[in-house]
């Protein structure tokens, strides 16, 4: 288990290294005259040259890359070109907001898709039909369209929820609920659709297995047969779907945050890329890469917990 974890972490680090290197080289190769971009067309040649020198852009790309990498390994990602705020400070606060939304969506989706999937598998008939229809719609309709409709009809219509902004949990619980509920719904629906579909078919599959009959023949209560045994066996494939959707969920959060005006990673990603703020973009690439790698590792470990055959000793 430990060697497995270490090996996966090393592999993840290697992957991250490749992504970061490619991103660095491509972004700087395409960045053009950075000083001019920052200072605008009215600045004189001399000040532009001075700015470039201050940013250390006159040294060769490769040596700049290694210097950046050295600093990055110590946790120093430089400062934003436009605000001079350290990249780590800019990202950290916003990462919490985005992770709240994303993990909120993962938890909500995991619970609801387990309930819907099991319900559809057991009841059949109209319950199954309704879950199927929901699944198709949830899969087909992009999350931010749902977000736009939620703002249009729920936030503007009822005033229960705030159409924009974010209130941290520490500040006010009701404020937090009123700001995060709609974004989490918008993020979750597509995920629930995919995972519930998978839960449904794997529960139906598991219920046909011989060991279900044998468990029942031992007089195990139906509750335990379903929720302890069948659901655990159906959990593996569902978890894989969840894992595959996670990267998409982070991408979805970028747009959803814009819809609801939430100050998360998405908002800063939009800002940094539109301004061409390369240090900030690099910081984001690292942050998102780390999140994806850690989440995938956690899911692999969970997978091993659910399915003993997948365990690597």
């Amino acid at each position: 288990m430990l060697t497995f974890t270490v090996r996966r972490l090393l592999y993840g680090a290697l992957l991250l290294f490749v992504i970061v290197t490619l991103a660095y080289l491509l972004l700087y190769a395409a960045a053009g005259n950075v000083g001019r971009t920052i200072l605008g067309p009215t600045a004189t040649q001399a000040t532009v040259a001075l700015k470039n020198q201050q940013l250390g852009l006159n040294s060769p790309l490769i040596s700049r890359y290694f210097s950046w990498l050295g600093h990055a390994l110590t946790g120093n990602f430089g400062s934003s070109w436009f605000t001079n705020q350290p990249v780590t400070t800019a990202i950290f606060a916003r990462m919490q907001v985005t992770l709240t939304l994303v993990f909120g969506a993962v938890i909500v989706s995991a619970v609801l898709s387990a309930v819907l999937g099991v319900w559809a598998a057991l009841r059949g008939r109209w319950v199954d039909r309704s879950v199927q229809v929901f699944t198709v719609l949830g899969f087909a309709i992009p999350g931010f369209i749902i977000a736009v409709f939620l703002v249009r009809y729920l936030a503007l219509g009822t005033h229960w929820f705030k159409p924009t902004g974010y209130v941290p949990l520490a500040t006010s619980f009701t404020g937090w609920i009123r700001t995060v509920t709609l974004p989490i719904i918008a993020l979750s629906i597509g995920l629930i659709a995919g995972v519930a579909q998978q839960v449904r078919s794997s529960v139906m599959d598991a219920l046909r297995q011989d060991w279900v009959r044998t468990l029942r023949s031992r007089g195990i209560p139906e509750r335990s047969v379903l929720f302890r045994h069948v659901l655990r066996n159906a959990g593996g494939p569902a978890l894989s779907v969840l894992a595959l959707s996670f990267v998409g969920l982070l991408g979805g959060a970028v747009i959803i945050e814009e819809v609801f005006g939430i100050p998360g990673l998405g908002q800063i990603a939009v800002l940094a890329t539109s301004e061409g703020d390369v240090p900030l973009v690099m910081g984001l690439v690292v942050a998102i890469g780390v999140i994806v790698i850690v989440v995938n590792l956690v899911i692999d470990l969970l997978q091993g917990f659910l399915n003993p055959k997948a365990r690597i000793s």
Partner: protein, 602 residues
């Protein structure tokens, strides 16, 4: 001989099979109402985009400061947007750009993914390793972030963004084609074609691409939907080319004016929803048809086990070798006139057990023998009331210790299962839950049924594992089912069956799935346990050797009915019913029959 002739000779049947299956698929798809509706909606949307100039007289980019945010009507079918542009015209022309952009991404993804998947799957080697690395790389970053960065560098062109997104989506096709090709690569017909000197190109196009064509269409429509979503998303963020009408730009404009005219977001929203839902339904319908043609007419398992039961009346012609039990004790299990049937899709009921009567006395081993499909397993499951879905007891009674099990409530039945009647299944490996340790599966019933504590249950389980002849109980206790051999797993299942000290154990062909040497060991074990615990056993089997080895009394079953019953010794000595005799003959045909009951039991 030309290449074409060779490949024609080598695999004529396969190609024609595939071709037949394909035209079949298309024809059946056209019969699916959902699929046809979805396809028609898609065709209408495409036609509306193509013939946009005929459907509106407005230019989608004509700005009019005087006509900003007008409602529907008054010359503008759906009103005007924040810059006074006609919404209906923008919707129609927007379809052109939105769909063309998504099509571009899909084509790029398909071309890249299919070619690299073919090369990696067919030739393998370093290309396979390299491409799987690139795929992992592409999948580790959210596409939208890459697109945002690319847009910052390359400018807001719809077409460049869609080409880059196509590259990011290539894994969707790569994985599909790679899996199909590496599966087919070593098929005999491909080998044969290769040996005959058919070029790789021909093999790929004739034998491999045909297999993945329908899945590629399905994947293509899903990818198309994703490309629409991402493109609209980027435009909605304001990152698109603002000079062209797209659905995303309309959504952006509508969202900016949300407080002044909340209706503006609805039109492009509906257009997007309609298109993506139609694409998904189209893909689903095609997939459903494809899956159905892959598994032709698989019958339900329950129905497969059911050879039509003899519809004749009560089994008055059952050969009985003894007078009714004269002892004062009532039988432990007394089945009377049992009939079991399965509800079919058309509402009719197929009978699999017809008027079975059995009596099993306390402390005896009773054999229920018959060939596959005679209804013996169905009878066993009826006693436990664990018939598969659709199966039910039609009439008759299952009297266990004086109580009719066919009528007790489910909760009561659950108390009886495990505690009073236990079950040993036929196939050991599929009857243990793969996700739990042996220990956890053994202790769970004991803790529920006997109210033991965790440590008491563990001690008892270890004792049982030793008792059923497992050499290292501690290790097996901590193992998972996949770590055991079949014989070990069957011992574990036997330990589980007797763990709650039941009165009756129903063993359903407990040795059929095992190696011959293990079979004898398991039968010895059952005999030992029966003698030690004094438990009553109903053993279902098709093997007279098992009966000779273990049973005190036997019932012979054919076509859902009991045809002969009595003490094993009497039936061995003097089989009356022709079916019983034919079962004996079957053993003699195998050459090595076990000795008669009396000798083997010493």
């Amino acid at each position: 001989m030309t290449e074409a002739a060779v490949s024609g000779v080598v695999a004529p049947d396969i190609t024609s099979d595939i071709r037949a299956a394909r035209s079949h698929l298309a024809r059946r798809f056209l019969k699916s109402p959902v699929g046809v509706t979805a396809l028609s909606v898609l065709v209408l949307i495409v036609l509306a985009a193509i013939f946009a100039p005929l459907l509106t007289s407005y230019n989608p980019n004509d700005v009019s400061v005087l006509n900003v945010l007008q409602g529907p009507g008054a010359g503008h079918l759906l009103g005007t947007d924040g810059a006074g542009r006609d919404v209906w015209a923008r919707l129609l022309y927007g379809a052109r750009y939105t769909l063309a952009g998504a099509l571009l991404a899909t084509v790029v993804a398909a071309v890249l993914g299919i070619t690299s998947g073919l090369v990696a799957g067919y030739y393998g080697k370093w290309f396979e390793a390299a491409s799987s690395w690139v795929i992992t790389l592409l999948m580790a970053l959210p596409g939208i972030v890459v697109l945002l960065a690319a847009r910052a560098v390359l400018g807001p062109s719809l077409w460049t963004v869609m080409i880059i997104f196509g590259v990011l989506l290539a894994p969707a096709f790569y994985r599909l084609v790679y899996a199909a090709v590496s599966g087919v690569r070593n098929e005999l017909f491909v080998d044969a074609a290769r040996v005959s000197g058919v070029s790789d190109f021909r093999i790929i196009s004739r034998h491999i691409l045909t297999v993945v064509r329908a899945p590629i269409i399905i994947q293509g429509s899903i990818v198309f939907g994703i490309a629409i979503a991402v493109q609209v998303g980027l435009d909605f963020l304001g990152f698109g080319d603002q000079s062209i009408p797209t659905w995303g730009n309309m959504l952006n404009d509508g969202f900016t004016n949300l407080y002044r005219d909340p209706q503006l977001v609805v039109w492009p929203g509906l257009a997007i929803v309609l298109t993506t839902v139609a694409l998904t339904l189209f893909a689903n319908a095609l997939r459903d048809e494809l899956e159905q043609s892959a598994r032709p007419g698989r019958r339900r398992r329950a129905a497969a086990g059911a050879t039509a039961a003899d519809p004749a009346g009560p089994d008055s012609d059952t050969v009985v070798h003894e007078a009714p039990d004269s002892s004062a004790q009532a039988p432990l299990l007394d089945v009377e006139g049992l009939a079991v049937g399965y509800l079919q899709a058309d509402g009719s009921v197929t009978r699999v057990v017809n008027d079975v009567s059995l009596d099993i006395r306390r402390g005896e081993v009773h054999g229920l023998i018959g060939e596959s499909g005679s209804g013996k397993t169905q009878t066993a499951w009826s006693v436990l009331r664990l018939l598969p879905a659709g199966g039910e007891i039609l009439h008759g009674s299952v009297r266990f210790d004086g109580e009719d099990l066919s009528r007790v409530p489910e909760a009561k039945m659950r108390d009886i299962r495990g505690r009073r009647i236990a079950y040993i299944p036929q196939e050991p490996m599929s009857n243990l839950d793969p996700s739990f340790t042996i220990g956890s599966q053994l202790t769970e019933p004991m803790r529920i049924k006997l109210g033991l504590s965790k440590s008491e249950a563990k001690a008892k389980a270890l004792g049982l594992l030793g008792q059923v002849g497992i050499p290292n109980p501690e290790r097996t206790f901590a193992s998972y089912p996949h770590e055991l051999s079949g014989g070990m797993a069957q011992r574990v299942l036997i330990a589980g069956a007797v763990s709650c000290e039941p009165d009756l154990v129903i063993a359903d062909e407990p040795t059929t799935a095992l190696d011959v040497t293990i079979q004898a060991e398991i039968l010895d074990l059952l005999r030992e346990l029966q003698q030690e615990l004094g438990v009553t056993i109903l053993i279902v089997t098709h093997n007279f050797g098992v009966v000779a080895d273990l049973c005190d009394r036997v019932s012979v079953m054919q076509k859902g009915r009991i045809v002969e019953t009595g003490p094993a010794r009497a039936i061995f000595a003097d089989p009356q019913h022709p079916y019983t005799r034919s079962l004996f003959d079957a053993i003699l045909d195998e050459g090595q029959a076990r000795g008669p009951y009396a000798e083997s039991r010493s």
